[in-house]
C-alpha cells in the first residue's frame, strides 16, 4: 500500500503528511454537465489548525467540500479523512451546510435541530433521553442560544439560524469540522460569537475548515489558507501564502489596487 503510494508520488515524506491529515483530497474533479467546477484539486489540511478555503464566486469552494463528503459525486478523485476512507470516518466529521440550503419553515424546534446531530448515535429506534437533551442544551449554550431551545426555527434571524447549525455540529463531537460559508449574511456580533467557538475548537486540538468570503478577515481568523479557482492555486500558512501574487492569481487579476491595499496592512501587520 505505502509502496504503491510512494511510487505514485515519489515523495514518501509528503505521503506521510497526507496519511495523518484530517482531510486529504487528491485529484478531485467535479463537473456540472461538461464544465468542470473543480478540476484535479489536491488539498492536504493541517491537523489542529483553522483553514480558510477562499476564491471568487463559482470557484468551486463549496463544491470541493461537498465532493469530499460524498454529497456530490466527483468524476475523479479520492478523499481520505485521518488516513482512512471518508465512509469509515463519518463519526469524526461534522459538516455545517450553507444556511440557505434548508427550508426554515420546516416544522421543527431549535432543540430538535441540535438533536439531529445525535441521530447517528441514537440509531433508528434509540430513545431521546434526558442526557441527550441536556447535551443539546449545552451545545446551544456554547453558541449563546440556550434560551431559544423551544422556539420554532422559522422565528430565528439569519445569525441565529447559523448558530443553531453550529450547535448541531458541536453535538456531533467531531474531530474535523467542515463549514460552508459560516459567516454569510450574519451580523458582526454573530460572526464574533461563531469565530470564538471555532477558535475554542481549534485550541482543543480539533481541525476546522471553512469556506470563507471576506478577504479582510482571513488573516485575523485563520491559520492556513487554501486558494482555489476551479484549480488549486496555493495552499499554506496565512503568513507566507496570503499574498498579492496568490490573491491576483486566484481572483484572476480582478481585485483592484484599492482592494489590495485594504488587505495589505492585515497580512503584513
Amino acid at each position: 500500500m505505502s509502496l504503491e503510494l510512494a511510487t505514485h508520488n515519489g515523495n514518501s515524506a509528503e505521503e506521510a503528511t497526507r496519511a495523518s491529515s484530517p482531510l486529504a483530497i487528491r485529484g478531485m474533479t467535479v463537473s456540472y454537465g461538461q464544465k468542470p467546477a473543480v478540476f484535479s484539486v489536491d488539498m492536504t489540511v493541517e491537523p489542529g489548525k483553522m483553514t480558510a478555503i477562499i476564491g471568487p464566486n463559482g470557484a468551486g469552494k463549496s463544491t470541493l467540500l461537498k465532493a469530499a463528503l460524498g454529497i456530490l459525486k466527483p468524476l475523479a478523485g479520492t478523499t481520505t479523512v485521518f488516513g482512512h476512507s471518508v465512509h469509515t470516518q463519518r463519526d469524526r466529521i461534522a459538516y455545517v451546510p450553507q444556511r440557505a440550503s434548508v427550508d426554515w419553515d420546516f416544522p421543527t424546534r431549535v432543540i430538535d435541530v441540535v438533536l439531529m446531530g445525535l441521530y447517528p448515535q441514537l440509531g433508528l429506534l434509540g430513545r431521546v433521553r434526558s442526557q441527550h437533551r441536556s447535551k443539546a442544551q449545552a451545545c446551544l449554550a456554547r453558541v449563546g442560544m440556550e434560551d431559544f431551545a423551544t422556539r420554532q426555527i422559522g422565528q430565528l434571524s439569519g445569525g441565529q439560524q447559523q448558530r443553531v447549525f453550529l450547535a448541531r455540529a458541536l453535538a456531533q463531537e467531531a474531530d474535523l469540522y467542515l463549514l460552508d460559508e459560516p459567516f454569510a449574511g450574519v451580523d458582526a456580533a454573530t460572526e464574533k460569537a461563531i469565530i470564538n467557538v471555532l477558535k475554542d475548537l481549534r485550541d482543543a486540538g480539533k481541525t476546522v475548515v471553512a469556506v470563507h468570503h471576506d478577504l479582510s478577515t482571513v488573516a485575523e481568523y485563520f491559520d492556513n489558507v487554501f486558494f482555489i479557482n476551479t484549480r488549486r492555486v496555493a495552499e499554506g500558512p496565512v503568513a507566507t501564502t496570503f499574498d498579492d501574487t496568490n490573491l491576483q492569481s486566484a481572483y484572476g487579476g480582478r481585485l483592484g489596487g484599492a482592494q489590495m491595499d485594504a488587505l495589505r496592512p492585515v497580512h503584513t501587520g
Binding site: 451546510p97 434548508v102 421543527t108 430538535d112 441521530y119 431559544f148
Partner: protein, 401 residues
C-alpha cells in the same frame, strides 16, 4: 344504520374492512407527512395513476391463465409493478433529462392512466372473467369485499405503518437537510427510495378502498391538516396519522352502511372537512386566530402609540387611537389624558426606554427577539433584570446630564 356502521355493528366482514381502512388511513397520513415535508407530494399522484394498466393487465393475465380475474393479491401485484415502472420513469425523466419533475409527473400520470383506460375498455369487450368490479379500483369500493381481502389490506397497512415509524429519523433528516444527512453517512438516495416504496405500498394497498384517483388526497390532506396544529415534526406525524385514520374509518363505515356509495370520495370529504376546520380554527396558524390576533395587535399598537403621544404631550390625530383611549378611560374626547391615562403614559414611556437598553445589549438577545414594543416588560424579564436595566438607564442619564 350509519351509527351502527360507526360503532362497528354491521357484522364481522364490514368491521374488518372498516378497521383495515383505518389502519390504511393512518399509514397514509404518517407516510404522506414525509412526502409532504420532502416536497414531493405530487409524485404520489403519478404513482397512483400508474397502477391502472397494472390492474388491467393482471386481470387479463389471470383470466388468460384460466383463473379468477378478480383475485385481489394478483391485481395488487400487477398494480405495484406498473406503479413502480411509472415511478422509475418519473425519476429517470427528472434526473437524466432536462425535464423538471412536475413535467415528468404530468406525462407519466396521463400516459399510464390513458393506457389503463384503454385496457379497461378492452376488458369490457371480453366475454370471460366476470369483469364487473374492476371500476371499483377507480373510486374505491368496500361493498362486497371478501374477508381474505380485508385481512390482506389490514396486515399490509399495519406493516407499512410500522416501517414508516421505524424509518422516521432518516426520513426527517432527508427531508430537512439532505446534505447534512449525507455527511453523517446516511444514504439519502436510498432513504428517498424507501419513502417512495412506502408510498407505493400505501397506494397499492389503498386501491380497493380509496381508489386510485383519490388516494393522493389521503396522502396529502392529513399532513397539511396536521401542519395547522403544531410546529414539531413528531406531532405533525402523529396528528396526520390520526386525521388519516379517522377519515378512512368514517368513510369506510359510511360506505358499508349506505348501498352504492363509493368509499374514496367519502373518505376524502371527511378528510377535507377536518382540513377546513383546522384551516379556520387551529390556534396559532388558523385563519380565525390569525385575524383575531391581528386585530388585537392593532388595538395594542394604537393604544401604545396613543400613550406615548400623551407622555410626550403631543396631540393625537388618529381617530381610532383616540376612540380606543377613550374607551379605556385613559383620555377625554378632546385628547387630554385622564389621571389614569397619565399614569399609564408615564409607564409606557419608561418601558420604551427599558426596551431600548435591552435591544442594544446582546446579553438580552433572547428577550430582545420577543420585542414588539408592546409586550409588558415583566413577562419577558425577571425582576432582577429589570432592576439592572433601570440602573443602566440611571447611569446613562447621569452621564448625559
Amino acid at each position: 344504520m350509519i351509527t351502527d356502521a360507526l360503532l362497528l355493528q354491521l357484522g364481522y366482514n364490514a368491521t374488518l374492512v372498516t378497521l383495515g381502512a383505518a389502519l390504511l388511513g393512518m399509514a397514509a397520513g404518517v407516510g404522506g407527512t414525509f412526502l409532504f415535508l420532502r416536497k414531493r407530494a405530487l409524485v404520489s399522484d403519478a404513482i397512483s395513476h400508474a397502477t391502472l394498466p397494472g390492474v388491467a393487465l393482471a386481470f387479463m393475465v389471470m383470466v388468460a391463465l384460466g383463473g379468477d380475474g378478480r383475485n385481489l393479491v394478483g391485481l395488487l401485484s400487477g398494480a405495484a409493478l406498473s406503479a413502480a415502472a411509472g415511478l422509475l420513469v418519473v425519476s429517470w425523466l427528472s434526473t437524466r433529462t432536462r425535464l423538471a419533475e412536475d413535467a415528468a409527473i404530468g406525462s407519466v400520470l396521463s400516459v399510464f392512466f390513458g393506457f389503463g383506460i384503454v385496457l379497461l375498455t378492452v376488458i369490457q369487450t371480453m366475454s370471460a372473467g366476470r369483469q364487473a368490479g374492476l371500476e371499483g379500483f377507480l373510486l374505491g369500493s368496500t361493498a362486497g369485499m371478501l374477508r381474505a381481502d380485508a385481512l390482506v389490506i389490514a396486515f399490509s397497512a399495519a406493516a407499512t405503518l410500522a416501517l414508516v415509524l421505524i424509518l422516521r429519523r432518516p426520513l426527517t433528516l432527508a427531508s430537512f437537510d439532505p446534505d447534512f444527512a449525507t455527511s453523517t453517512g446516511q444514504n439519502v438516495t436510498r432513504t428517498d427510495l424507501a419513502m417512495m416504496g412506502l408510498v407505493l405500498a400505501v397506494t397499492v394497498v389503498g386501491l380497493k378502498i380509496v381508489g386510485l384517483i383519490l388516494i393522493v388526497a389521503l396522502l396529502i390532506i392529513p399532513p397539511v391538516t396536521a401542519r395547522f396544529w403544531t410546529d414539531r415534526t413528531d406531532r405533525v406525524v402523529l396528528i396526520s396519522g390520526l386525521v388519516g385514520g379517522v377519515s378512512a374509518y368514517v368513510g369506510a363505515s359510511m360506505s358499508a352502511a349506505l348501498p352504492d356509495m363509493p368509499t374514496g370520495p367519502i373518505i376524502v370529504l371527511v378528510g377535507f372537512a377536518l382540513f377546513v376546520v383546522s384551516l379556520l380554527l387551529a390556534p396559532g396558524r388558523g385563519v380565525v386566530s390569525a385575524v383575531l390576533r391581528h386585530r388585537a395587535y392593532q388595538r395594542q399598537v394604537h393604544l401604545r402609540q396613543g400613550l406615548l403621544a400623551l407622555a410626550h404631550g403631543q396631540p393625537i390625530y388618529e381617530r381610532m387611537t383616540l376612540r380606543l383611549l377613550r374607551r379605556q378611560g385613559w383620555a377625554l374626547p378632546d385628547g387630554v389624558a385622564t389621571p389614569d391615562g397619565r399614569g399609564r403614559a408615564t409607564r409606557a414611556l419608561r418601558d420604551e426606554t427599558r426596551w431600548q437598553v435591552i435591544r442594544s445589549d446582546p446579553g438580552f438577545e433572547a428577550a430582545a427577539a420577543l420585542y414588539d414594543g408592546l409586550t409588558p416588560i415583566e413577562t419577558v424579564l425577571t425582576p432582577d433584570q429589570i432592576v439592572e436595566v433601570d440602573s443602566r438607564i440611571m447611569a446613562r442619564s447621569e452621564v448625559s446630564a
